[in-house]
């Protein structure tokens, strides 16, 4: 689904990407882990075209999206839920979702029923101002907003950040369900090991702007020292 090869980029004051190689298979949930400031968020931004790529290549389903403007990458089927969620706080819940629909022709701008099946709350509160939502609710909204664009690949940046554990669990369950029912491929940056072990199929660890280690989830289950090696501060 996604192939990243030799990607180099820098972003603000955070560490540059220094030759990232990563691939995500169709239908899998891949977790991207590592300590803070190792370039995980920058990698997602670079895939999304929000950070200028200096060298290397990003391909989605075999088609290169390197250097494309962000909106076009989105149209190629990549959904993005950034760190901090970045919902449109002054918009209503429904308006937030409708922004995700604007890419389609006018007649097709209908929110798929499944979205409300996964996130019934968004239907009940559709006229509420999104900014008044709790962190967890905003996260659900942000995921749903990305999903209405019917992406093939979803990039999630720290979905558990600042959210209470019970909601994190709920979000994890929903993501797993969506993945199983629709075959959506997910690349998720996450620090929360519990969440990852619940949903991910495979795992990659970043260190100093590179992928330091990649393996299947089972391997981590067997050998927890991998986690301490790449995650402990």
């Amino acid at each position: 689904m996604l192939r990243v090869q030799g990607l180099e980029a820098s972003y603000g004051e955070s560490l540059a990407l220094q030759g990232v190689d990563l691939s995500v298979e169709i239908g899998e949930i891949k977790a991207l882990m590592g300590r803070n400031g190792m370039g995980k968020s920058t990698l997602l931004k670079a895939i999304m075209g929000l950070v200028k790529i200096r060298r290397g290549e990003v391909a989605v389903e075999g088609r290169s999206v390197t250097g494309m403007p962000t909106f076009q990458i989105a149209l190629e089927g990549v959904g993005y839920v950034p760190q901090g969620r970045e919902i449109f706080a002054s918009f209503s819940v429904l308006e937030n979702l409708r922004v995700g629909l604007l890419r389609f022709p006018r007649a097709e701008r209908v929110i798929p029923k499944e979205i409300y099946d996964y996130f019934p709350l968004l239907k009940e509160r559709e006229n509420q101002r999104a900014g008044s939502f709790s962190g967890g609710q905003q996260q659900m909204l942000a995921i749903a907003r990305a999903l209405v664009g019917r992406p093939k690949l979803l990039l999630l940046d720290e979905p558990s950040e600042g959210i209470q554990p019970s909601i994190v669990e709920e979000i994890a369950e929903i993501l797993k369900k969506i993945n199983q029912e629709t075959g959506l491929t997910i690349l998720v940056v996450e620090q929360n090991i519990n969440m990852i072990s619940d949903i991910a199929d495979s795992c990659a660890f970043m260190e100093k702007g590179r992928i330091a280690y990649a393996c299947a989830m089972e391997e981590i289950m067997r050998d927890e020292s991998i986690i301490t090696r790449y995650m402990s501060v």
Partner: protein
């Protein structure tokens, strides 16, 4: 002049000023670009009418063509100039200002520096409740009100407006959701320009058209934005009302120069007293 006519004239000026300011502010709101050529777009709108009148095509042809031509020019300008300077916002101001110099000088070379008159397209007067008032001025007010209302509708009620507001709130996020930000910028710049062109065309029969008239509207429109705040469309209504109203009221009692001095001082004081209302949200450069 009776008080009623005076007030109507004031309202007339305010509405046109709001129109000019609105064109500026939608471009600014979306792209963070101050279009210094906005006054010259107004000028081009007015001279379109001057030209069609001269050619014998009459006012109405110019009136229709002015927003189209100026909107087209705005689109070209965005595509060949403003787009190159996305990452140098300060330079977009300079570049559009360079464009304004070229346009103004082009007008001087083509039409000469002196003022030109356009034959009034609707010379008859309307009398209502004992007040006699030029029908053309009523027409202008109608047009201005319509365009202002339509712009509000476009940005607050339509899908295009939803996308535009998303781009204003968070351009990167909007693009990540598949909104074509480039086309959005192009459309908005063109639309803002077209509004200026239309405003110029409507004003042409009311004043003597000279190459400096654009600046004469750009500056008060800019002050109106500063006073009202650029963060919401509603701010321009307030700003346009304050600046346009004060300008008109004072110049009818004293002189236009006194009015300008007072209005400018007023604007400066308001900026000092209420900085949060003035471009507060978009103060980054």
């Amino acid at each position: 002049m009776s008080a009623a006519v005076q007030i109507l004239n004031g309202l007339n000026y305010i509405l046109v000023l709001i129109l000019v300011a609105m064109g500026l502010v939608i471009i600014f709101g979306l792209m963070n670009v101050i279009n210094m050529a906005h006054g010259e777009f107004f000028l081009l709108g007015a001279y379109t009418v001057v030209l069609t009148s001269k050619m014998g095509l009459g006012f109405w042809v110019g009136f229709i063509f002015a927003p189209i031509l100026v909107g087209l020019l705005g689109a070209i300008l965005e595509a060949v100039l403003v787009r190159r300077l996305y990452h140098r916002i300060l330079d977009t101001i300079l570049a559009t200002w360079g464009v304004s110099i070229v346009i103004k000088q082009g007008i001087i070379l083509t039409f000469g520096p002196e003022g030109l008159m356009v034959k009034p397209p609707m010379p008859e007067m309307v009398t209502f409740a004992g007040i006699s008032y030029p029908s053309y001025r009523l027409f202008i007010m109608g047009v201005a009100l319509f365009v202002i209302a339509a712009t509000f509708y476009l940005f607050l009620k339509t899908d295009f407006g939803l996308g535009a507001r998303a781009v204003i709130a968070n351009p990167n996020m909007a693009a990540s959701l598949g909104i074509n930000t480039r086309r959005m910028y192009l459309t908005t710049f063109s639309l803002g320009s077209a509004i200026a062109g239309l405003a110029g065309a409507t004003m042409a029969p009311l004043m003597s058209c000279d190459p400096h008239m654009g600046l004469g509207f750009f500056i008060p429109a800019f002050l109106a934005i500063l006073v009202g705040g650029a963060s919401s469309l509603g701010g321009i209504l307030v700003g346009g009302g304050v600046i346009g109203g004060a300008q008109n009221a004072i110049s009818s009692v004293y002189s236009p120069v006194v009015a300008q001095i007072v209005v400018f001082s007023l604007a400066i004081i308001i900026i000092r007293m209420r900085p949060e209302g003035i471009l507060g949200r978009k103060a980054r450069d």
